[in-house]
Subunit: 275 residues, 2 copies
């Protein structure tokens, strides 16, 4: 059996009881470590679970999945995933390959940013399409996500912006080499995301945009952890906000309802004053 | 302290380890029982948690919340919620009231239909706005959700349709009486939801609708449980599909990508043949 087990967003105790039972009895347990990032170290999980975990990095998951799956034909193999297993196509792909190899599969769900973002007080059913904001480089500055945010805003919908993370990314220089060299892990902050959005707005320079530098947004950090924090201000102001360590997400606010305002006024950092 | 604890979608073991620890040490634990529905009975939870639970029905949560919160000033009080705590405005409202009473609060997240719907193979970031489909009556046939589904479809986005549940709904006749009488609990099936959508399409009778009776949809039942099931067919065909016991949800498919098709072909009931 091949198990895909979501371990949630916070710490070791966010795994479900069902998930923990599988982890403790499985023959081998992988810890997927590149589509998202743990807020606690691998050793913290190992200590709590009472067993060894094998790090599954990008190379192993994308190129060596047969190695992971082959032993699942006869034994119980589990892969732990931050958040929920259906958060990344990589995991969906693994399930398909397992099925094609005749390996039974089972998924254990957990909280992910896609539903936990409700912690900022905005109702999940008034969110539109989710977007991803990638790190810009000198020569590569995509902005297709901006149109989606505007489409949502026009319909009064909020937009969850997932911010880029770079974990075990090979350097450009080493891409064609046998021995890859990797960039240090880095994570987009709400300030960086807001800055890219402000630049897009300035380049478009169109007075009819539904999203402007004065549009309200909510920056959230470390959702699901004890030191979770969120703050609401304009996009322009968000370029100066520091929410501390990763992971960060940014929500572009659509039309707010009374209960949403009330929650934010009560729970946002710095009062979350609504203009 | 007032704890709001998500218990996920499946059975007793879907609670997180963190949630279970709070449940076992709290002074009083309520089980919210009207915004969603448990797939296992209260006694199953009580046995697994090793403690007594107090059912919090609609009247208690909406009218008697002070009773719930007052004891949280000095003691630890927890409320268990099916799925994730931020799935219903009712719970957001409880957090706001607790804050205003000076009671510290803490939320323990879990999987909810809003992210677990990924189990049908469609990628969560290609879903648009979520809609709710209510039971029609003889005289009340709202259809505003249909426009939202069409808006999503035009942009290639999938739509999660949450289907109505009626738990402890007072009968019309008893609305003004002191002693309320309640309708038996009932749950909308995917066939009923598809039937209402087909009726709307026929009434609109417009050849340019982006959603027609031939639009593909996916019916899902008992997401997160061992007997979870999903099936893809046209809306017209879905009116004849029986997915068994509740809860059901319906997804109107937008534009499918290759990995989504592959997953559905491999995992949907009856092959999930894609036309």
């Amino acid at each position: 059996m091949f198990y895909l087990i979501g371990i949630g967003l916070g710490d070791a105790k966010d795994i479900t009881v069902k998930g923990l039972e599988i982890v403790r009895k499985a023959e081998k347990v992988f810890l997927e470590s590149y589509t998202s990032v743990l807020s606690v170290g691998k050793h913290v999980l190992e200590e709590f679970y009472g067993r060894e975990l094998v790090i599954a990095d990008r190379d192993l998951v994308e190129l060596g999945s047969d190695e992971i799956l082959s032993s699942a034909l006869e034994k119980d193999v589990a892969m732990l995933v931050v958040g929920d297993p259906f958060g990344a196509t990589t995991h969906v792909d693994l399930l398909v390959r397992a099925k094609q190899l005749g390996i039974p599969t089972k998924v254990v769900h957990n909280a992910s940013i896609m539903n936990s973002i409700g912690c900022c007080g905005l109702q999940l059913y008034t969110f539109g399409e989710t977007v991803s904001i990638p790190f810009w480089t000198e020569t590569w500055k995509p902005d297709s996500f901006f149109e989606k945010i505007c489409n949502n805003k026009q319909r009064g919908l909020h937009t969850l912006c997932l911010l880029d993370i770079k974990v075990k990314e090979p350097t450009w220089e080493s891409m064609t080499k046998k021995k890859k060299e990797y960039l240090p892990p880095h994570f987009m902050t709400v300030a960086q995301a807001a800055q890219q959005l402000v630049e897009i707005i300035k380049i478009k320079n169109c007075p009819e945009l539904s999203v402007t530098v004065d549009t309200l947004c909510i920056g959230v950090a470390r959702v699901g952890s004890d030191d979770q924090i969120f703050k609401m201000c304009t996009l322009q102001e968000m370029t100066q906000v520091d929410l501390g360590p990763p992971l960060h997400s940014l929500v572009i606010v659509g039309t707010m309802h009374q209960i949403e305002k009330e929650y934010i006024e009560n729970f946002a950092e710095c009062g979350g004053a609504i203009k």
